[in-house]
């Protein structure tokens, strides 16, 4: 068995490490510098609103990474990853709600405003402990992880695969959305959790806190990327790839397909939970619409645009699509859905390997051009 340090060093090749370090440092340093060091009015100065916006993109990138791990490598297309993301977000939101203390509208020392409003007398048991940051952090990982574990165990054990799995994951997030919309679930119903005041004693509205959260998100993305690399370069990663391409064969070779899938799915859900937890303090609200099936399916298109099974592609896709979304919903709101729809169709038809695969596809295309008619796309390659 290779020593761990050796394994870690081999996560990326030399060029890869150089690029990774350069991008991570640049992302973590340049944005805060552009925002704080430059004088107001300087053309390169980053406006204050951009910091949480970029932070939001980074959180989406972590979510896309999580989905790529289970879709691109283990072949599980989960259309319910938004549920894990939102659960992580709700755990963080519950901590932030408990931090409000007496500063709420009703000034109740323990109960959040919406509970006072609903005339509740005491805190429900599942809200206990969320006044402690470490407990909230633990829950951010454990709650989505536990749900994914139970759901995945039931699904993979009985060999629910492919589109069936996609549809029931969608039903899962749909059911959660219906539930969280209800007031008596105790998560603020329709309005969700909002009006946060401070995080670990720092004002969530303050510029310094936002920069801190942004840097934390970038670090989390970097760590998540390395963790995913670690998994996909391991022997388990090989099994995952194999079962993606020929599940029955892997099973007959004696590997436990269920455990491998369950591992990928659960880890992926935990990562999604972390992404959600970082997302909530930056956008300042979490509500049940995060559970909507449409949100989850949008994550799949980020990964598909970037190129699944590449990890880098997922991150790239999340940034590109969300940047386009911010820009288009501002510039021409009615065009955005046309664009998103066209993206879904175009990417699946013409870019099956996404942007990350484009270079390879192009090179292969050039090579093939000498042998075959140029531009012939193989339509029926399964």
């Amino acid at each position: 068995m290779t020593p761990l340090t050796f394994r870690l060093a081999r996560l990326l090749d030399a060029r890869g490490w150089a690029a990774f370090a350069a991008i991570a440092v640049a992302a973590a340093m340049v944005v805060p510098l552009l925002n704080t060091a430059l004088p107001a009015g300087h053309p390169l100065r980053l406006p204050d609103y951009m910091v949480p916006l970029l932070g939001k993109y980074v959180c989406y990138a972590i979510l896309a990474l999580a989905l790529d791990l289970c879709w691109g490598y283990a072949g599980i297309l989960s259309l319910g990853h938004g549920a894990f993301f939102a659960l992580g977000g709700y755990c963080m939101g519950m901590y932030l709600m408990r931090q409000i203390g007496t500063r709420g509208v009703y000034g109740h020392p323990v109960l959040p405003d919406f509970m006072v409003f609903l005339n509740w007398k005491e805190l429900p048991a599942y809200w206990y402990g969320f006044d402690m940051f470490w407990y909230a952090l633990l829950m951010v990982v454990l709650v989505p992880g536990a749900l994914a574990f139970v759901f995945g165990f039931l699904a993979f054990r009985s060999r629910v695969t492919g589109v069936y799995l996609s549809i029931i994951t969608q039903a899962l997030t749909f059911a959660m959305m219906l539930g969280f919309f209800r007031n008596n679930f105790g998560f603020g119903g329709n309005n969700g959790l909002t009006d946060f005041k401070e995080l670990l004693g720092f004002d969530v509205q303050a510029r310094s806190t936002r920069i801190g959260l942004y840097v934390a998100s970038v670090l989390a993305l970097a760590l998540a990327f390395l963790a995913c690399r670690f998994v996909v370069t391991s022997k388990l990663g090989r099994v995952m790839l194999a079962l993606r391409d020929a599940e029955s064969r892997v099973r007959f070779l004696g590997y436990s397909v269920t455990s491998a899938k369950l591992f990928a799915f659960t880890l992926s859900a935990m990562l999604a939970g972390v992404a959600g937890a970082l997302y909530v303090p930056q956008v300042g609200i979490i509500n049940p619409s995060e559970f909507s099936p449409a949100n989850s399916i949008e994550v799949a298109i980020w990964v598909a645009v970037g190129g699944r099974g590449t990890l880098v592609g997922a991150v790239l896709g999340a940034f590109l699509v969300n940047f386009a979304k911010t820009w288009l919903t501002g510039a021409a709101p009615e065009v955005w859905l046309f664009f998103l729809g066209a993206l879904f169709i175009g990417v699946t038809l013409f870019l099956p390997r996404g942007l990350a695969g484009l270079a390879g596809q192009w090179r292969a295309g050039l090579g093939a051009a000498f042998r075959r008619r140029p531009g012939a796309v193989e339509a029926r390659d399964a």
């Binding site: 039931l154 054990r157 060999r159 589109v163 996609s166 039903a171 729809g341 699946t348 038809l349 029926r380």
Partner: protein
């Protein structure tokens, strides 16, 4: 004094008090609450103003109050536990008040004597000619008490034409037309209202809701109307009308009405009408003094399944002192309660079957595209939506181009139109996108999701985001009562029937046509079918078109039970997939069972768990069910499974 000056002066003398009164009506009204209201009453008596008259009438009838909050004089009428407060100066309804917030304005003998003059003034209004039109027009009186009188007079005319007018008044469908103030009955026709003149019952034109103003009534008046309709209807030559009339009198009959009922029941031949009359008489006898009569009444009542009877029994049970009657009451109440429960379950079952048939319609198309072809079509919901919008377009075309008498049949044209529109859209979809993605289900899923987004946005751009309302044709509105309180609504019933016709048609196409044979051949073994000379690509295209077309017909049906909106399909897509997955892929019978099970389970759970929790419970149950039988209830066996 020259004549000119005299003329000007006399004019001024006439004008001054009039203008002064008009401006100071509020001040005069305030004077009514003074210790000595006489000057104010005298001043009001002098005025010719209708509002002053109304205020004095209210004063004489004891309907004038001083509001304790601000000391203003208001007229108020009791409506249930609260008073409806009207600003006496402007005649507009202001708000509701509790009894303790108002102080009645009392009258001493002097003031009463003054008001006795008043008797002459409103009297000429009371002696309106006793013709039908005049009596109807009197319904639009200022105060509730005058309206009640108008209703009474209209009833005394004994004219059968009064029934629809009074019914409209009770249902809030009686309006005054802005402009000429004529009384009209308005019936919904899409977003507009079709008017019928209340005095002649002649059909009028269709207007926007803004052109008319409702005639306001309160709950007390509603009871008066109900009673009046009942009394009028008892002498109607139509048995159904007599039955409805007796039905309206259950628990609401006045002593005169009971006398009428007894007379009518004695000579009634129609069984249903007679039963309703007996029930109404029994309901009134229950509160009487004669013990034998009361026990007999209980016998009759215990056979009923009317909610009103139940509350009547319940109220009596709380107040009853006679032990013998109490025992009988207990028994009768329990019997009614049990019957009502059975009906409740039956109602839930019917609603469940109705929901199930909607789901089935939405899922049949999916059973073809997903079940038979294996294509995950996330845009399936949008095919439903296209069908619904086609219905809307057909409706608008009929409104614009066809004679109004044809309008009721537009739906029959909308069905093939919806099938064609969605079917063609499906064929276009299959040829342009899906055929490149066969064998790659996950990609198909994403691409069709994209198509669904584009279609939704397209419809939103073309038709606008707000909901469109599609009118029910006359033959689909209303319903019939199966037994006490169990109402079967026509549009739901027709959808159940329609869905079974569609299912049968699809089964016939699959089993007994060449196209169906080709389709089954291609799905079972594509290469072999091609080798036998079947054009597989063309079969794919037509199959997909058929599935989409059926979805379009589902949209036509859905437009009849709800509004049409761009995200109509999204509401049903998850449920439809659940139906197909639950019922088993590639099996129409499974789809039928799946849809009905889901529909009935949803509706049966609703009363206990609420709509949302019920739905969640069903979703979770399906997720767990799929663990046990990953391929659904009726799974295909053999080689086709792994294809």
């Amino acid at each position: 004094m020259n004549p000119l000056k005299r003329f000007v002066l006399s004019g001024l003398i006439w004008l001054l008090p009039a203008t002064g009164l008009a401006q100071d009506l509020a001040a005069l009204l305030a004077g009514l609450a003074d210790a000595d209201p006489k000057p104010a009453i005298e001043a009001l008596l002098k005025s010719d103003d209708a509002k002053s008259k109304a205020a004095l009438t209210a004063l004489a009838e004891g309907r004038l109050f001083k509001r304790l909050a601000d000391g203003a004089v208001v007229s108020a009428e009791k409506d249930g536990p609260m008073y409806v407060v009207t600003n006496a100066a402007s005649g507009e309804i202001e708000d509701m008040a509790k009894e303790e917030e108002l102080e009645p304005i009392g009258l001493d003998d002097d003031a009463k004597a003054l008001l006795a003059h008043l008797g002459t003034a409103p009297a000429d209004r009371k002696e309106a000619p006793l013709d039908f039109a005049g009596a109807v027009n009197a319904l639009n009186a200022e105060s509730f008490s005058e309206k009640a009188k108008a209703i009474e007079r209209l009833t005394q005319l004994g004219d059968g034409r009064a029934v629809p007018v009074l019914q409209a008044l009770a249902d809030g469908r009686l309006f005054t037309r802005r402009g000429d103030g004529a009384l009209v009955i308005g019936d919904r026709a899409g977003n507009d209202l079709r008017l019928t003149a209340a005095t002649t019952l002649e059909r009028g034109d269709v207007v926007k809701p803004g052109a008319i103003e409702p005639v306001v009534i309160n709950n007390n008046l509603r009871n008066v109307v109900r009673e009046a309709v009942g009394r009028l209807g008892l002498v109607s030559p139509d048995a159904a009308a007599r039955r409805n009339a007796a039905d309206a009198l259950i628990g609401a009959a006045t002593p005169e009405a009971v006398t009428l009922l007894r007379e009518a029941a004695a000579k009634e031949k129609d069984r249903a009408a007679r039963a309703a009359m007996m029930l109404a008489i029994a309901a009134s006898d229950l509160n009487g003094a004669d013990k034998a009569l009361r026990l007999a009444a209980l016998d009759v009542l215990s056979a009923s399944t009317d909610l009103r009877v139940r509350s009547l029994l319940q109220a009596r049970l709380a107040a009853e002192t006679d032990p013998e009657i109490k025992v009988a009451l207990d028994k009768a109440f329990a019997g009614v309660q049990r019957k009502l429960m059975v009906i409740g379950v039956a109602e839930n079952l019917f609603q469940g079957v109705s929901l199930g048939s909607v789901l089935l319609l939405a899922a049949i198309g999916l059973a073809i595209t997903f079940g038979v072809m294996g294509v995950i079509n996330m845009a399936h919901g949008e095919m439903i939506m296209l069908g619904a919008y086609t219905t809307f377009v057909v409706q608008e075309l009929f409104r614009a181009w066809m004679p109004p008498s044809w309008f009721d049949y537009y739906l029959l044209y909308a069905i093939p139109a919806g099938f064609a529109a969605a079917g063609l859209a499906g064929i276009a979809l299959e040829r342009s996108v899906i055929r490149f993605l066969y064998g790659r289900p996950l990609e198909t899923l994403l691409a069709t999701w994209g198509i669904s987004l584009v279609l939704q946005q397209l419809v939103r751009t073309l038709f606008g985001a707000p909901n469109k309302e599609v009118a029910n044709p006359a033959w689909m509105t209303g319903g019939f009562e199966l037994t006490g309180g169990f109402l079967v609504v026509y549009n739901r019933l027709y959808i159940v029937v329609f869905c079974f016709i569609v299912l049968a048609a699809i089964a016939v196409i699959l089993r007994h046509t060449t196209f169906g044979l080709n389709m089954r051949a291609v799905t079972q073994n594509r290469d072999m079918a091609s080798a036998m000379g079947i054009r597989a690509g063309r079969v794919d295209m037509l199959t997909f078109g058929l599935g989409s077309g059926v979805a379009g017909m589902a949209g036509v049906a859905l437009s009849q039970i709800g509004n049409v909106s761009p995200n109509l399909g999204q509401i049903y897509i998850v449920d439809s997939f659940m139906v197909v997955v639950f019922g088993g892929v590639g099996n129409l019978f499974g789809t039928l069972i799946g849809a009905m099970t889901l529909g009935v389970a949803n509706k049966l759970l609703e009363p206990f768990a609420g709509a949302v929790l019920g739905k969640i419970a069903v979703l979770v149950a399906i997720i767990l069910f799929i663990q046990k039988r990953p391929r659904g209830l009726f799974a295909l066996k053999g080689r086709a499974v792994e294809a």
